[in-house]
Amino acid sequence: MLFCTRPFFFFFLGVFVLYWAMPWQRARVWLLVAASFYFYTLWNKWLACVVLGSALVDYLLALGMEAATAPGRRRLLLGFSLAVNLGLLVYFKYADFFLRSLEEGLRSVGLEASLPVLSVLLPVGISFYTFEAINYTVDVYRGRMRAERNPGHFLLFILFFPHLVAGPIVRACEFLPQVRRRKHWNWERAHLGARLILLGLLKKLVLADRMVAYVDPVFADPGNFSSSTLWLAAIGYALQLYGDFSGYSDLAIGMAHLLGYRLAPNFNLPYLSPNMGEFWRRWHMSLSRWIRDYVFLPLGGSRAGTVRTARNLLLTMTLCGLWHGASWNYVLFGAVQGLILAGHRGFRWTCGRRPALTGWLTSPPGTVVRVAATFALFCYTLAIFRCPTLSLARVMLRRMLAGVGGGGLPLHPSGLYLTMAAVVVCHLASHTDHWERIFERLPAAVRGVAYGAALTLALVVAPNASKAFIYFQF
């Protein structure tokens, strides 16, 4: 049940009305748990039981860790929790991929191998709730937080339907205290939630879903298109990815606000980043934070010298790429991002010795150049991420730089240019709160019509068949 569909609208409306009609906090928690579990069963009943089962295992193990006094026992329980969580993640998401890769590897050295095909159904959201569960058990192990005693509270932390299938990846220490607090209706919060939902719908329906028609045919067969078309498709995909994922995040955060919960923001205008380091701090921020805290920093972070830092960046980003899916495209994409980050550190060190260059790069025109270059670099590397195979990605990357002729976009490009211009304007407007203050000073009736027109626009341009969110597949 996708967020932008009529059935989900009625589902959420029902939950919302019942939730605020109940005066009892405990009942509200269990209502959300039940609704979230029901929401997941609509994807797949059996996999919903897997999620529930793994959540209960983590709940019990955390209680056990807190009760245990011997460090060895605590470590054992943590290890068991990590084994269960990562084991499920590896089995459902990567087992077939590893088996196929092993088979191809053996064949390439002349050995015949016929390994079983598992055909495993991927549980929706497994990459997200697994990381949340790991965050919880590690934090309990490290003593950063107490184990949650109330099973309903813990289940809500894992299953809360706004963030269940595609994040944001929520921290237990940020979410669980909210569950314990009694909720009161708050008009400011409702206003914020409604605005975020409207923004999410606009990003998903007006921006992301309309880019599909420009993008899909080009990435499916890049050899047939000209260099300029490939670049336009890459930009279109960058807009689609941003609109889709940040739109989803806005919907999730907005719905959470309407239910009295605050989820951490997940995007901060990443396409205004002046370098790739900044970019990954603004894109999918909840995952970036998690990867930093539980992979990068334990590896040594940036404290252990240049070479080690570069190694840590490469490893971290490669794992981050692998997180996206069971495909060598994602692994390579991650590795390339790691190399770029390592390269950027070197560049920063070089600039540090050249004050004039640093001065120009940090000036307004220099910042514009850096932002444009960062965006172009990200779009270029998206060929690896998006193309169905590595060989097609190679073709696309080569043709993007070769200045070759070929086919044009499948739709008239005016729609894409208009969308690009609108995204640039909205990004620049959001960069300062200047336009926000102007908007707030308008009469309420004018603001109301503006909101009404925006929602109408989202409904009108929505494609006939609702497209799944891209990050649902991760």
């Binding site: 708050n186 008009w187 400011e188 409702a190 206003h191 409604a194 309309r210 044009g408 976009l409 499948p410 739709l411 008239h412 490009p413 005016s414 729609g415 309420a444 009736a445 603001r447 109301g448 019509v449 503006a450 909101y451 009404g452 027109a453 929602l455 109408t456 409904l459 009108v460 341009v461 929505a462 006939n464």
Partner: protein, 358 residues
């Protein structure tokens, strides 16, 4: 609660209420636009009306023949071909639409009148299956969407509908939430689905030629044709199973002809070509009953002709037993112009007696 906080709370509450009101207001504005603007409400018809007005403006002195009908007419009559060259006095226009029958034809006549167009001849296609009631619902009604009509048009169709509340509910849904119900129409109107070749009205799915012809496929595979034929025959078989002409459908046709007579527009009835496989669906006796019925109408209403073209075209020139290919359309148009339309010109302008063509 501190005063600033209270003020902000009130402001946010007011914002939310105004947002709901603003959304409702925008829907009302769209609903009014839909009632008034045909291109948004019924782009199919608006495009053809636009083309027709342009053709009439180009040739204001030529007698105008409008052919009303279903997708068979829409794809089968290359009216532009009839309008070319000397010795072709009629200005013929193809006002056929997918799924159109006597209900839509009545609305088409009203809309032509509202646009100031009075044809000198109306040729009305009769689809035999549309006079029957198979599957519990007349075939025309299955595809008839209330959202295409204005409120007064719905009131015209209401007495004829076998499910009048469905028509009204459709219309109401279209006006209550136009952003959803008319989404595809609004997107086309806003040109949001333009291809590199241009607006889909000019070159894509909405395309019709300047005389209203929507050509069928120029090239198609045998496999596709077999599959399409199979589906068509299956669909129509249910309607022919009963084989009885329904009283309501007959009343519709009669009222349509009464409308033509009231507007003093000479009319003729047309049975479009059908393949052998399609004609084999007819149950025993239907052909005879149909012939008696239509001839009776011809005499009662003083129709200029009853044109039975069902056997005019060979089976190879259909791509689904029901619709003509481009080659088939040209062959039909040639014969239609020569054997049906030209004699009707002499009849209508000389106000002579009715001649039936069988």
């Amino acid at each position: 609660m501190p005063p600033t906080r209270r003020r902000r709370t009130h402001q946010r509450r007011a914002d939310l209420l105004w947002a709901a009101a603003g959304f409702a207001l925008v829907q009302v504005a769209l609903a009014i636009a839909l009632e008034k603007r045909l291109p948004v409400r019924d782009p199919d018809f608006a495009i053809k009306l636009d083309r027709l007005q342009a053709r009439v403006q180009e040739s204001p002195n030529r007698p105008l023949a409008v052919v009303l009908g279903s997708s068979r007419t829409q794809m089968g009559l290359d009216a532009g071909w009839l309008n070319q060259g000397t010795g072709r006095p009629w200005l013929t226009f193809n006002l056929g639409f997918e799924g159109c029958g006597p209900m839509m034809s009545r609305i088409s006549l009203r809309r032509l009148s509202a646009a100031g167009i009075r044809p000198d001849l109306v040729v009305i296609e009769v689809v035999p299956a549309q006079l029957l009631v198979g599957n519990g619902c007349p075939i025309e009604e299955r595809g008839l969407k209330g959202t295409r009509f204005r409120a007064d048009e719905v009131s015209v169709l209401y007495p004829y509908s076998s499910q009048p509340w469905r028509l009204v509910t459709d219309w109401f849904r279209g006006r209550a939430l136009p952003a959803i119900q008319h989404r595809a129409d609004l997107v086309t109107w806003l040109s949001l689905d333009r291809t590199p070749q241009g607006n889909p009205i000019e070159s894509g799915k909405w395309y019709v030629d300047p005389s209203g012809w929507k050509p069928g496929p120029a090239v198609y595979s045998l496999e596709r044709a077999v599959d399409a034929t199979h589906r068509t025959l299956n669909e129509f078989r249910a309607y022919f199973r009963d084989g009885r002409i329904a009283a309501r459908q007959l009343a519709l046709l009669r009222d349509l002809l009464t409308d033509c007579r009231r507007r003093q527009i000479p009319a003729a009835l047309l049975l479009m070509p059908e393949s052998t496989a399609f004609r084999n669906l007819y149950p025993d006796g239907l052909d005879h009953d149909l012939g008696v019925l239509l001839d009776g109408l011809r005499q009662e209403f003083g129709l200029l002709a009853l044109i039975d073209a069902r056997g005019w075209i060979g089976d190879n020139d259909f791509f689904d037993a029901n619709h003509l290919t481009q080659v088939g359309a040209r062959a039909f148009t040639d014969r239609f112009g020569r054997e049906a339309l030209r004699p009707l010109l002499n009849q209508s302008t000389a106000d002579s007696q009715v001649v039936g063509l069988q």
